[in-house]
Structure formats: C-alpha cells, structure tokens
C-alpha cells in the first residue's frame, strides 16, 4: 500500500515546528517507523512535520554525568562504543546492532524509537532500565518526564500530539559497571521475542547495583525490579560458564524476572509459558555477560 494524502512541512526553526504540531500531525525525523506505519495505513496523518532541518536537534552531549541524545541522533552513531563515555557506550553499542539493519540505522533515530514505543524496542527497554528522562517540548512550554511514567502500553506514551521529544537523557554508568545485551528472535528479520539489557556493579565479589531492562516481556518496556532486588548483596564467586548453574544468583534472578517482573502476552509463535522460559534463560545469560567484563 501507499501512504494516503497529507500535507508536508519542513520547518527551519523549533518554534515553527512546535507551532505546527497537534492533533493529526506526525513528526518525521528518521521516518523508518513512521513511513512503515503510513504504508500499512495504521497511521494516516493530515500533516507530516519534517524536523530534519531544525537546528540543534542533532546534538549528543555529555554534561553533569549524563548523556543527552537529541531528536536527530541516528541509531548508527551508537555502533561505536566511544560515542558515549564509559560502560554506557558499551551497552548502547551492544544493543544497537539488534535494531533492524545498517540502512535503517543510518536514518532511524533513538528518539524516534521512544516516540513509536514498540514493546520490543531495545532503546525503550534501556530507557526503563537506566531511568532515562525525556524532554517534551510544546509551543506553550517544555516538561521533563521519567521513562517509567512515559510508556503507557503498546505504541502508547504520555507524549501529547502537540509535543516533540527534543532530548532523552541517560545517567552515565560508573567505570566498574559491567554491561550486557542479548536478544532472542525467531528469524534474523524478526522483532525481538525477548531482549534483555543489563548493567551490574560487583564490588569485592558482591553485587552492589543492578539494572535490568526487558523488551517484549510485557505490553510495554519494563524494568525487572524484583530481579534486581534479588541480586543486591548476592555473592558472585564466579559468573558461571556457558550454562549458568541452577543455584546461581543470576539463574534465580532470571526466574524472578520471568515470574514476577514480566507479564508476557501470547504471540503466534510464543505462548506465555515459552516466553517466560526464554526470559529466565536470557536474563541469566545477560547478567553473566555483564559480569565477565
């Protein structure tokens, strides 16, 4: 199918862009999800506001221990672990290679992923795990919202139609944090059946901090807080081999994430029981990956 008729506006300033937004308008940044949705007629905007010519939206800055990702920063930028300082750069680099493929990553943006809010989105899961903040600009003012208050359901967010996400802000991770990101999918072209991102700090053999983000484990991205709590204070004598032992804290955390944190919905190729099994295994493996580096 082809997109239906719409008006197109390419503003040159932020106020001009914000003035155009509202009911029936859609923002075009990378367009890799928007155009898809318009082809499938799931979205039928009256107006498309192309923000690619708005200055100041393509910045990727570090300030006050946080990294700010502007609305026009493409996925591809994060393929280099050096794009963002410290372990956060490593985590982003591990996650981004799971997003579509190179030509999509050339155009698509991280902010766009958060705007689309697909339950399987890697960036959305990391935004939850890392307590990201989202800046929403509108003609009448700007507000900042925490990721945990932002995702309301599949493709549903707290963003109002007249708001533009200008920035996502992530706290940097301390240098002794280990990171991991793993994804399970049915075919190479599929969306994640389950994706797990983890950041874990182990000091003198004891877990002091743990963050676990889950994609496609509920109707929206979630943070596995019960699993994180089960890890705090746990002694990690050895991160485990390729198969994490059954009584290992990582295995127990995986079970906790699958049984308590996740609320998987059935899909044609994965019923709830199967998905819980995958979540348990993948969380344990991701924690192991994070612990060995």
């Amino acid at each position: 199918m082809k997109p239906a008729t719409f008006d197109y506006l390419a503003p040159r300033t932020l106020p001009e862009a914000l003035a155009a937004l509202g009911e029936g308008a859609q923002v075009l940044a990378g367009g890799q999800s928007l155009l898809l949705e318009m082809h499938l007629k799931r979205l039928d905007p009256a107006l498309v506001v192309d923000v690619n010519h708005v200055p100041g939206l393509d910045h990727l800055d570090v300030a006050d221990g946080r990294v700010e990702v502007g609305a026009l920063v493409r996925h591809k930028v994060f393929e280099s672990p050096e794009a963002v300082p410290g372990p956060l750069g490593g985590l982003f680099a591990r996650a981004v290679v799971n997003i579509a493929h190179p030509p999509i990553r050339t155009r698509g943006t991280m902010v766009g992923s958060l705007a689309w809010a697909h339950p399987a989105s890697e960036w959305c899961a990391l935004a939850m795990a890392l307590d990201a903040e989202i800046d929403l600009a509108a003609a009448h003012g700007t507000r900042t919202i925490a990721a945990r208050d932002y995702f309301l359901g599949p493709f549903r967010t707290a963003r109002r139609p007249d708001e533009l996400i200008t920035v996502i802000r992530f706290p940097l991770l301390s240098p002794d944090t280990g990171v991991g990101f793993l994804e399970h999918r049915r075919t190479g072209f599929s969306f994640a059946q389950v994706a797990v991102g983890a950041a874990i700090t182990i000091r003198e053999g004891v877990v002091t901090e743990a963050r676990i983000g889950l994609a496609n484990c509920a109707d929206r991205p979630i943070r596995a807080e019960a699993a994180e709590q089960s890890l705090i204070g746990a002694e990690i004598a050895c991160p485990g081999g390729p198969r994490v032992p059954a009584d290992h804290p990582f295995t127990r955390a995986g079970r906790t994430a699958a049984d308590q944190d996740a609320a998987p919905v059935p899909e044609p190729h994965a019923d709830v029981e199967y998905r819980r099994h995958v979540i348990a295994v993948l969380v344990a493996r991701t924690l192991r990956e994070a612990a060995i580096r």
Binding site: K2, G31, Q32, L36, D50, A100, P102, P103, I104
Partner: protein
C-alpha cells in the same frame, strides 16, 4: 510540491505529492526503473539507493525529503561509456545473481559500504553482517559475499 532531485548527477525538476516515496518517484517520474520495490516496508532492501552517499531504503523516504540531496541509483554505477562498475563485474564473475530482482539493492548497499570504508573487503565477517540487510531468495548469500569481497580487492 516542486522539488529537484539530483540523481546520478542529473537534475530532475519535478512536481510531486508529498505522499510519494522516493522509490516510486525514481521509477515513475525519473523513469529510472532499476530501483526495485519489493516489500515497501523496509525489510527486503530491493529499493536500496544512496542518499548523501549512504545506503537507505528508498521506500522509507519521501521524495520531498530528498530535494537538494545527491542520490545515486544502480543506473549510475556503470561509467558513462557503459563500462560496468567493479561490483557489477564481480557479481557477474561470482554468479551472484539469478532472477536479479534483489540485485540493484545489493549493488547499491555494497557500493555505499565500499565507498565509506574500502577496507571492508578485509573483513569477511563484516561483509556477512552487511548482506543480512537485504533479502535474496535465489542464489543464497555466499556468492554475493564473494562478489563484494572480490570488488573490494579491486579484481
């Protein structure tokens, strides 16, 4: 909307509806039918072209977005004298095509990758990663990878 597309160095002054994607405008308005449309949802990669020197899906870009940005399609690969591009020679030599529907997309994706990083030919794993972007249902991916490596080596 009035726009000018610059495709393979030639200017095409056009009047297009905003709703029309780059792939359709290249095919229908510029009569450059080498760019193929398969899935129209960014999956198959048959419509891959270069915009600003980077491989993109022309089914996921509006033509009006490309006003003033240089575009390269498969028609621009061969020299003005008709001499095939090294990638085209390599695809032929390695028998990297059968029905040919996906070939323009693979060629443009590879052309973009080689232009941005000629050393990719030294890294078979990166070439293997790259070809995963596009779908081929005839030859399988081995001959396509061999062809890209061969072109990268300048053979």
């Amino acid at each position: 909307m009035k726009i000018t597309l610059t495709v393979n160095g030639d200017d095409y002054p056009l009047d297009v509806e905003p709703r029309r994607v780059l792939a359709d405008v290249l095919r229908d308005d510029c009569a450059l039918t080498g760019t193929h449309l398969g899935c129209e949802q960014g999956v198959c990669g048959a419509c891959t072209v270069l915009v600003d020197g980077e491989a993109v899906r022309s089914c996921l870009m509006l033509a009006v977005q490309c006003d003033g940005h240089p575009i390269h399609t498969v028609e621009g690969l061969a020299g003005r004298d008709g001499e095939p591009h090294p990638l085209q020679r390599a695809f032929s030599a390695e028998r990297a095509l059968q029905c040919g529907f996906c070939t323009p997309g693979f060629l443009m994706m590879a052309a973009g990758a080689l232009e941005n990083d000629p050393s990719i030919g030294d890294h078979p794993e990166r070439v293997a990663d790259l070809v995963r972007s596009n779908l081929c249902r005839c030859t399988g991916y081995e001959p396509i990878q061999r062809a890209i490596m061969r072109a990268a080596r300048g053979e």
